[in-house]
Symmetry: C2
Subunit: 144 residues, 2 copies
DNA sequence: AAGTATTAGTTGATTTTGTAACTAACAACC
DNA sequence: GGTTGTTAGTTACAAAATCAACTAATACTT
């Protein structure tokens, strides 16, 4: 590729991680977007509630490392679609406990199965040990 | 963390990759953003030109897997900052050859050193073998 | 108990991205 | 050689993300 400089952008971790992240989530994006009209933050909120049951907006934001305005708008969108319901905490009325409705739960269950299939397809591209190393390192990088 | 569901979002590759990509590029983003007022696509274009010398907008888009409108705007911004110059190809006047100016090159050189340091700091979090496995798998995922 | 500070969440303005329609230059076909 | 199709790049408009200012509720402080 006739480089005039020996820096290898393809191996620069922040760039490489972004490329891999984008490429490997493209097809999954299409599923929640085209099939359910959801945005990225919306499926993340849906998944957090599906997995953990009940959370506040703040807790979701902390876990997903997303800004509260993004969460707020995603929650409003999911509520509009009747995927979740809010309940003010009586002991602290600033806080609202978020929980999936039956409809939201069924959508979550469908998407979770898609996610499982999708993840398997990606994992099939590597050996079990490679997959473990990859996950371990990605977790480490996520925390740093 | 009292899950009511056994799906592990933290291990779902598209999510994990995104979290790792975001976390591990955060501090580098600050450098090109705060120090040079550049956007993500802008430093990518700068790096491509720094590494390969002369490219067209289309070639950069293909390499970086970015849409042509993003490239077009990044090129206009870099040109406005006098980091690059354009030259119409005489044999095909639709195409413009892009090349860094002396100023652009010096900014590239500085940022490349930052990138090297930054990448080393990230790589120091893992063994040499782990780093190689990580890069290999990320490259594989980028292409799929 | 009043005043100040903090916290959870929302809203509005600005910036950035994505999508689609466009211009200009070239290619191919009849 | 004129019509049709394609390609490189730009522009205009819509969707989304970011940032700052805001409301409402609670906590601290004196």
């Amino acid at each position: 590729m006739s480089e005039k400089d020996d820096f290898d952008l393809q191996l620069f971790l922040p760039y490489l991680l972004n490329q891999a992240a984008e490429a490997s989530s493209l097809a999954f994006n299409q599923i929640y977007k085209n099939r359910y009209g959801m945005l990225r933050t919306e499926w993340r909120v849906l998944f957090h509630l599906g997995i953990y049951g009940t959370l506040t907006a703040k807790e979701i934001g902390a876990r997903a490392k997303s800004h509260k305005t993004k969460i707020s708008r995603a929650v409003a969108a999911l509520e509009g679609r009747r995927y979740l319901k809010r309940a003010r905490r009586e002991n602290d009325r600033r806080v609202e406990a978020l929980e999936l409705t039956a409809l939201g739960t069924s959508v979550y269950n469908e998407l979770r199965e898609e996610a499982r299939r999708y993840d398997s397809a990606l994992s099939d591209q590597m050996s079990a040990e490679e997959r473990d190393v990859l996950r371990k390192l990605l977790l480490r990088l996520s925390r740093s």
